[in-house]
């Protein structure tokens, strides 16, 4: 297993390795290539360009797909909150909403200063929905969502998958396909979790990569480096690119 760290390394690897089947990517890469306030944005875009030049499709598992959509929702709503805050004046009846939005705006500003991409939490969304809905029996919340998340999740998603070159792997327990040289077993994933102290969604990606015919894994998580290196299943031709 090789570890690649720079786009020059990746370029050299792509020249000598046939990756036309595709590469595997984690949520961090997909997010990094979507938001310019993320610390890995420029590098992720550069990697995406290399994949495009070499006609290498990007594969992710369904967990990453769900995580990515969820992060998109949270990030877009964060932007909406910041914009709404700019339009509000503090009054005696909107204190709770005003304070919530101010808190979100402040966190966002601090994150930008630290080169981080801030997203509101699920708890924030619940509170926001309750407060905004109180102004007009839910229709205001719908209009807020329609503005900031509707276009992305309703009309743009299909285009996004096509243009970014995203594909999703769905495989059932013990099955194989042209993408897998060995069956994917739940037990193998659990063993990776236990041996490396790794969270389920990450262990699932490692297991998927090791059992797959994909040569390249693109990730923003340096934990994948040691986990894949130590694995008995690792192939010398496979590589992990750490963003």
């Amino acid at each position: 297993m090789q570890i690649l760290r720079t786009t020059q390394d990746l370029n050299a690897y792509l020249r000598k390795t046939d990756c036309t089947l595709g590469c595997l990517a984690d949520t961090g890469f997909l997010y990094g290539a979507s938001f310019d306030d993320d610390r890995i944005f420029d590098k992720s875009v550069e990697v995406h360009e290399l994949l495009a030049e070499n006609s290498i499709p990007i594969f992710a598992n369904v967990i990453s797909r769900m995580e990515f959509i969820d992060l998109l929702l949270r990030k877009q709503l964060t932007g909406g909150c910041v914009e709404l805050f700019e339009q509000l004046e503090r009054t005696s009846t909107n204190t709770e909403l005003f304070n919530l939005l101010k808190n979100i705006r402040d966190n966002n500003t601090a994150a930008i200063r630290n080169n981080e991409s801030y997203k509101i939490s699920e708890a924030h969304i619940k509170k926001l929905r309750r407060l905004i809905s109180s102004y007009s029996q839910g229709t205001t919340w719908k209009s807020f969502c329609a503005k900031y998340t509707g276009p992305v999740l309703v009309s743009e998603w299909k285009v996004l998958e096509e243009e970014l070159g995203l594909n999703f792997v769905e495989i059932t327990e013990g099955a194989t396909s042209e993408f897998f040289h060995a069956p994917l077993l739940w037990n193998d994933m659990v063993q990776i979790m236990g041996r490396h102290g790794m969270r389920g969604p990450d262990a699932m990606i490692v297991n998927l990569f090791l059992k797959s015919n994909f040569s390249l894994l693109i990730t923003s998580d340096s934990d994948f480096e040691s986990t894949t290196k130590d694995s008995a299943d690792s192939s010398p031709n496979k590589a992990v690119f750490v963003l």
Binding site: L72, K75, Q76, L84, Y148
Partner: protein, 60 residues
């Protein structure tokens, strides 16, 4: 899995996509939402004003 319908990445797509998301985030909030918040404030103020006890209104 059917490989005939595999999506291939297009050059410039990531930057274009990031810009699209940014443009959506930077929009002004819906007018009906801002109006609703302001109107609620106004209605509450009106309600508070009209609920003053009559004798006090007479005193004024």
């Amino acid at each position: 899995m059917n490989t005939k319908n595999v999506n291939l990445p297009k050059k410039g797509a990531a930057r274009k996509w990031a810009q699209k998301l940014k443009d959506l985030r930077k929009q002004k909030p819906p007018k009906d939402l801002v109006d609703a918040i302001n109107q609620k404030e106004r209605k509450d103020r009106d309600r508070a004003a009209s609920s003053l006890p009559p004798d006090r209104e007479l005193e004024i």
